[in-house]
């Protein structure tokens, strides 16, 4: 069933039974995939399904633990990105990295420019070769123009031209449309069709389902690192595809307790930050866990940052326990009983060089004081208490948090905030990048907090987590709240539909 019915040519690139683990995390399990010349093939799956690992394996960044990569039917081993490139595999990333002060032509032929006698660089030949590449792609871009100031769409075109200059036969496009406007997407698709007609194989990744149906012929779906299906898109509906991506049973990973909601603890009214999110209103009650779902970039994190005060808002208001918060003032938000476990624990949640004790102590500097001075005894016992309560695994409380594993670092961030005794807890991707065991512990903790009357707002790209833990699910799409779904009606299909803007739920 992995073979298309009209399989005439042989695949240019094939993966057979690829597995890859990072520590205890099995990122890919027995994944197979075939790419045919002249084919645009979609790779679908939720965040964390293993798409990025698969791409990096194809690009030679990761080496698989098991399985084979076949190029024109021959097994190959990539020792690094250079090997993959030499084999004709090119990856176009969402945000290309060009040298801004070099011209388009210089970027494309970086390090291997045509030379004239005495090793002088032949500008004319470089520019002519670049112009020829642009003609092949059917795009108008001046080879001598500096890369600085090019739109992301144009930068991607330059990257594609660069790939062609390496005679790439396989192009992997990792969410190329995420930052493009409608007309830019149309032009990119024109280029992709041109490449297809010239016999290239394209692996296309996008969160926008309609694009997959628009440009791709077949789709391979991953879920939790496992291969689900490779099949023609003909005859499939978007709902079919979503079901492939998310369909699974929820289990003990989500020990949700039923709690009778109390008073409104967090009230957000018509909150707007220009160009980021618009007119966002919602409440979270005591004892409630409210999930905030949406695609990456939908504005969820930005709403949390503004509510907490790390960013300013342009309009609207926020109340915690009936107290209006000051715009752009995390210290007043904290005083009102708000806590935010941020998205990026290494940069935002923790001071990596600082000890566990001091990191947890940071949120208590104003409260564990005696006669205006930090009460070190109280600070240490507060930190120890919470580190023990959350079962952080560490050697000494004075060790730098950088010595801990990711899951334990996340527990320190949680400890740091739970130690403030918050009335409202916002957690942003609380279980991203941590192992399943710790994940279950974090979920149990969130459940217990809610049972104790804390209002929890949980931002997560992990749909099963949202459905497993949330009493209500809010969904954002392109900076707006598009749906509010009660637990009893929340399905992955409905959330995904609202998150991709397909239907107002």
């Amino acid at each position: 069933m992995t073979h298309p019915s009209d399989a005439g040519p042989s695949p240019v690139l094939a993966l057979k039974g690829i597995s890859k683990s990072f520590g205890a995390v099995r990122a890919l399990r027995d994944v197979s995939l075939e790419l045919f010349p002249g084919e645009v093939h979609a790779l679908a799956g939720e965040n964390g399904a293993g798409k990025s690992t698969l791409i990096k394996t194809l690009a030679g960044v990761h080496r698989p633990d098991a399985g084979r990569v076949l190029l024109d039917g021959e097994p190959v081993v990539f020792h690094g990105p250079g090997d993959a490139r030499d084999a004709g595999i090119a990856v176009i990333y969402q945000e290309p990295t060009l040298f801004p002060d070099l011209s388009i032509a210089e970027n494309i032929f970086m390090g291997r420019r045509p030379k004239r006698a005495l090793g002088r660089i032949d500008h004319k030949a470089t520019n002519a070769a670049t112009a020829a590449l642009m003609r092949r792609l059917g795009v108008e871009l001046d080879p001598e123009r500096p890369a600085r100031g090019l739109s992301i769409a144009d930068q991607q075109i330059v990257e594609i031209a660069k790939a062609l200059s390496f005679d790439a036969r396989v192009l992997i496009m990792d969410e190329p449309t995420a930052a493009l406007t409608g007309s830019e997407v149309a032009r990119l698709f024109g280029v992709v069709r041109t490449l297809r007609e010239q016999g290239a194989a394209v692996l296309f990744i996008s969160h926008r389902l309609e694009e997959i149906f628009q440009i791709c012929r077949r789709v391979t779906t991953l879920r939790d690192g496992a291969w689900i299906a490779s099949e023609p898109l003909d005859g499939m509906t978007e709902d079919d595809l979503v079901r492939r991506m998310v369909g699974r049973d929820l289990d003990e990973l989500y020990p949700k307790q039923d709690v009778e909601p109390g008073r409104i603890a967090l009230s957000v009214r018509r909150l707007t930050r220009e160009g980021v999110f618009t007119d966002v209103s919602f409440d979270v009650r005591q004892g409630e866990i409210v999930g905030l779902a949406g695609l990456v970039g939908a504005g969820r994190t930005e709403v949390a940052r503004a509510v907490f005060g790390v960013d300013r808002w342009d309009a609207g208001e926020v109340e915690v326990d009936g107290r209006a918060l000051t715009n752009g003032a995390p210290s007043t938000a904290m005083a009102a009983g708000l806590a935010l476990v941020p998205e990026d624990r290494r940069a935002q949640g923790l001071v990596m060089d600082m000890s566990i004790e001091r990191n947890i102590g940071l949120t208590g500097l104003r409260t564990t004081v005696r006669a205006g001075l930090v009460d070190r005894g109280a600070e240490r016992s507060r930190s120890l208490d919470w580190a023990v309560k959350l079962r952080v695994k560490y050697a000494r409380i004075a060790d730098a948090v950088s010595t801990l594993s990711g899951g334990n670092q996340q527990k320190v961030v949680l400890a740091k905030w739970l130690a403030t005794g918050p009335k409202v807890l916002i957690v942003d991707e609380p279980t991203r990048g941590i192992d399943v065991g710790t994940k279950a512990e974090v979920h149990r903790l969130l459940g217990e907090l809610a049972a104790d009357g804390v209002a929890v707002l949980m931002i997560s790209s992990d749909l099963p987590e949202v459905l497993g833990m949330a009493d209500r699910v809010l969904v954002m799409h392109e900076g707006r709240l598009t749906a509010e779904i009660p637990r009893s009606e929340a399905t992955e299909e409905r959330v995904m539909a609202a998150a991709t803007g397909r239907a107002a739920a």
Binding site: F308, V351, D353, M354, L362, V374
Partner: protein, 335 residues
């Protein structure tokens, strides 16, 4: 885990030990070092550096720097001389000079926190600016006829001892700075600000406010030093304390305050200040030329940046060996 070992090679302890060794060697082998007069000179000449090093330490811990301190000190001295020539009472002049220092620090702080400019660039600018104003105010005059009791206080010793009279007020200020940095919520938050401004903000620390306070305090201490300098040397000139900022920064870094912010102790910084001061004193006694002294200071500055990093790497490597789990990077040449 080798708690005692990692502690033993902390850089501020190393500097303290070096200071002790230097003092012992100097007492034993350097002629003229141990007498009370020389020691009082040593301490008196080092006090301006020490005074400014107090706020500078807090500033560098918070990830910022102020290179305009010597110019602020010079400006304060110049204004003091000018107003004294105009016939104003010294009791009015000194508070005015301190207010001026606060304003100078506030300007630096506002430029850094409101406009988001790097403090290195801002204070190189005001280094030139404040010194220029000082020259406009006083021209090439030297004002020397300040009231005797003030001159005596700034230059005099406590009885026949080797301690300058100004040393006691300095000790009080040192104690205040130690408590502020190491024991108050404000001071403790500075370490987070310096190590990771982003994480500090997410912990509800008011980063910009903290930095503004530090720049203002630095301006205040710089002008206090300027007043002390003019009285101590009985000379208010526009070029007083020129180049002092480099000595302060060198001493603070030598004392183990990480230039990248987030690390260090005031004890280390003050040990660095007096190590540098003692070294200069000894070199003068041994008739080392002024030029060579500058070279030694420069070498020390480089060592001061290398030393703490090497000490930390060593600590990490030892901890790693003790843990005996994964192979750790040993002492590598810093990049």
């Amino acid at each position: 885990m080798p708690d005692s070992l990692t502690r033993a090679i902390r850089w501020d302890t190393v500097v303290g030990a070096l200071l002790l060794v230097l003092l012992l060697l100097s007492f034993s082998f350097v002629d003229g070092f141990g007498n009370a007069l020389n020691l009082s000179f040593l301490i008196g000449n080092t006090l301006p550096i020490a005074l400014i090093a107090l706020p500078m330490t807090l500033l560098v811990v918070a990830g910022e720097i102020d290179l305009s301190v010597a110019s602020t000190a010079g400006l304060s001295g110049a204004v003091m001389g000018k107003l004294w020539n105009e016939g104003m009472a010294i009791e009015t002049i000194i508070p005015l000079c301190l207010v001026l220092g606060v304003v100078c620090g506030l300007v630096n702080g506002l430029l850094v926190t409101r406009l988001g400019l790097p403090s290195l660039a801002v204070t190189i600018g005001t280094l030139a600016g404040y010194r220029g104003i000082a020259q406009i105010v006083l021209g090439s005059d030297a004002v020397t006829d300040f009231p005797t009791q003030y001159l005596d206080f700034a230059a005099g010793r406590i009885g026949d001892s080797f301690l300058p009279q100004a040393f006691l007020p300095f000790l009080v200020l040192l104690a205040v700075a130690v408590v502020v940095l190491h024991a108050t919520p404000f001071g403790r938050s500075l370490f987070a600000v310096g190590a990771s401004q982003e994480a500090a903000r997410f912990a509800g620390i008011r980063v910009r406010r903290a930095k503004l306070i530090l720049f203002t305090a630095t301006g205040f201490m710089a002008s206090l030093t300027g007043v002390f300098w003019a009285l101590h040397y009985a000379s208010a000139r526009y070029d007083n304390a020129t180049g002092l900022e480099l000595s302060v920064v060198a001493a603070v870094l030598l004392g183990g305050i990480d230039f990248d912010g987030g690390k260090g102790t005031l004890g280390g910084a003050i040990a660095g200040v007096f190590l540098l001061g003692a070294l200069q004193n000894v070199m003068s006694l041994m008739n080392v030329s002024a030029q060579s002294q500058i070279v030694v200071t420069g070498v020390l500055l480089v060592v001061s940046v290398l030393g703490p990093r090497a000490a930390r790497r060593l600590a990490v490597a030892r901890a790693g060996r003790q843990a005996a789990s994964t192979p750790t990077s040993s002492l590598r040449s810093p990049s």
